[in-house]
């Protein structure tokens, strides 16, 4: 892969995009997981698919639209879905998680209709579902780079606000943190990162890249900062090994990346078990 990397532009695009999302997906994933909103990533990835289906349909039915990258329409839908979720969460104050299945099923419902109208599945759509090492073009790589820089900057800038909001909303409110605004900013970032990650990992597996590395990190970390660091390390490892094996095995990268993440998770669970047992023995 190393030689091919310098030879083929598409590999560079996929690898660089992969490395970037290996950072931002788990980074945002930490905040999602600790707030027990893991399913939000699923809802948003499904609504991204709806956007992609809409874009493919438009391309087919409207003359003059040819090389629209469906990813952008995916982003628009994803951000729209994110804003809707925030609204619904306010409406169902005591059942905040209800917003997620509403958007998720709404997204799939509309998506299926659009896909059928666009004459069903094709290879394109398959690569959106499970990711692809060949689908990322230069422009979308740059887009992902911009999103990555933006997300990292915002998380650093609002780190303390995001932390206090995740831990204790009342405390955040009496600290003068504008929770509504930060929530909105955050969920829009999540929507963008999901749409950005989708080309490499695929819609069905995007949420795994946001949550599995965090699940592993939670086994080992004590502090919040450690959780973030470990999550990114695990996410990045999954993406790199996953992309590499995807290329060599000729299978979609979504599958390999997620399997590596699963293996890491199993390893951390076992590691923690063994360590706890050693500790118990040490005590006796």
């Amino acid at each position: 892969m190393i030689e091919s990397f310098f030879q083929y532009e598409f590999l560079q695009n996929a690898a660089i995009t992969g490395i970037l999302i290996g950072i931002v997906a788990p980074l945002l994933g930490v905040f999602i997981v600790v707030r027990r909103l893991s399913l939000i990533a699923d809802a948003l990835s499904h609504i991204t698919l709806t956007g992609i289906a809409a874009s493919l349909l438009l391309e087919k039915k409207v003359t003059g639209i040819n090389d629209w990258n469906p990813v952008y329409m995916g982003m628009v839908f994803s951000v729209g879905g994110a804003i809707l979720i925030e609204r619904l969460r306010k409406l169902y104050k005591h059942y905040e998680e209800l917003a997620i299945p509403i958007i998720l099923s709404g997204g799939i419902g509309l998506g299926v209709i659009l896909i059928s109208l666009a004459d069903g599945f094709n290879t394109d759509l398959f690569s959106y579902l499970f990711g692809s090492v060949t689908a990322v073009d230069r422009t979308s790589m740059w887009t992902v780079l911009i999103i990555t820089i933006m997300v990292i900057a915002i998380v650093i800038l609002f780190y303390k606000e995001l932390f206090v909001l995740s831990f204790d909303e009342e405390q955040a409110s009496i600290s003068g943190v504008n929770g509504r605004w930060i929530h909105l900013l955050f969920i829009v970032m999540v929507a963008l990162v999901i749409a950005a990650s989708m080309q490499v990992v695929g819609i069905l597996l995007v949420s795994a890249l946001m949550t599995l590395p965090v699940a592993s990190a939670l086994r080992l970390a004590r502090s919040f900062k450690q959780t973030i660091g470990l999550s990114i390390a695990f996410g990045e490892t999954s993406v790199l090994i996953g992309l590499f094996s995807s290329y060599h095995l000729s299978v979609p990268p979504g599958g390999t990346i997620v399997m590596v993440a699963v293996i890491i998770l199993v390893m951390t669970i076992l590691f923690k078990k063994v360590r706890t047992q050693q500790w118990i023995k040490g005590e006796v």
């Binding site: 600790v34 303390k160 831990f167 009342e170 405390q171 409110s173 009496i174 004590r222 919040f224 900062k225």
Partner: protein, 260 residues
């Protein structure tokens, strides 16, 4: 400076659903006071505090904090708060005690600025005050309930507030640390002039330490200094308190028979 009203509530009423939980409350908290807020379960004490902190909006009446209508208030670092539900957080949350206490400095630090060494020292100092500095790097969820409560007290103290609001802060804290905690509150109040509002069911202890007592059940039934309260307590208040409790139980039964 002294005697200046810090919190002023005028004709404040609030309901979650249909029934008034707080009704026509007039309450002024003046600088330097140590106010004990007592009342039976469900009498609206926690709700009154939520209103005071802008965590709930009153349906009627007005609230001012430091001479500003609450919706224009922004000096949040002046206020420290320990919620009754402080340790109902997600106990699997991956944060250390130090990280939690530092979060109490968010209002002091302000937007677009970062935590630094000074803030860490400040947090360690607050942890020292509640004798929890040895646990600074422990995971917050792995502490006992009383230890967690002490950490939340440290978080409330860390920004050097001039008003400290505590909603049953000593629940689950052992006797030794309760005594130390009251001593600490006494020092904060007398030496540093910090204004204190504390909700408690321990009427005996609060009257030993507080300068003033407020007794409420939806509305304020008594507000005066501790001496007046002791006189009041013997006659009228017991009747009032007992009567209110009875009424509350009565309402409750009624609800069960005829759920609305």
């Amino acid at each position: 400076m002294s005697n200046h009203p810090i919190v002023k509530m005028e004709q404040v009423s609030f309901k979650y659903e249909r029934e008034w939980v707080v009704k026509d409350v007039n309450l002024t908290i003046r600088q330097g006071q140590f106010l004990g807020l007592v009342g039976p379960n469900g009498s609206g004490k926690s709700t009154l505090i939520k209103l005071m902190l802008g965590l709930a909006k009153p349906d009627r009446g007005s609230i001012t904090l430091y001479d500003r209508p609450i919706k224009n208030f922004s000096n949040w670092q002046e206020i420290g708060f320990v919620s009754q539900k402080a340790n109902s957080f997600n106990s699997g949350f991956p944060a250390t005690v130090l990280e939690v206490v530092k979060a109490g400095l968010v209002s002091r630090i302000g937007t677009f600025k970062f935590f630094n060494k000074k803030h860490k020292d400040k947090a360690m100092q607050a942890l020292h005050t509640v004798e929890m500095e040895d646990y600074a790097h422990s995971n917050i969820g792995e502490l006992s309930g009383g230890q967690q409560q002490r950490v939340f007290i440290a978080r409330a103290l860390v920004s050097d507030p001039s008003l400290l609001i505590l909603d049953e802060p000593t629940v689950g804290v052992d006797a030794k640390h309760v005594t130390e905690f009251y001593d600490l509150l006494g020092r904060l109040n007398k030496e540093q002039g910090i204004t204190l509002l504390m909700v408690t069911h321990d009427i005996g202890t609060i009257t030993e330490h507080a300068t003033h007592v407020v007794c409420m059940n939806k509305t304020v039934h008594f507000h005066g200094n501790t001496e007046e309260y002791k006189e009041f307590n013997d006659e009228d208040l017991n009747r009032l308190y007992g009567h209110s409790v009875q009424q509350l139980t009565h309402n409750h039964d009624h609800d069960e028979v005829n759920p609305s």
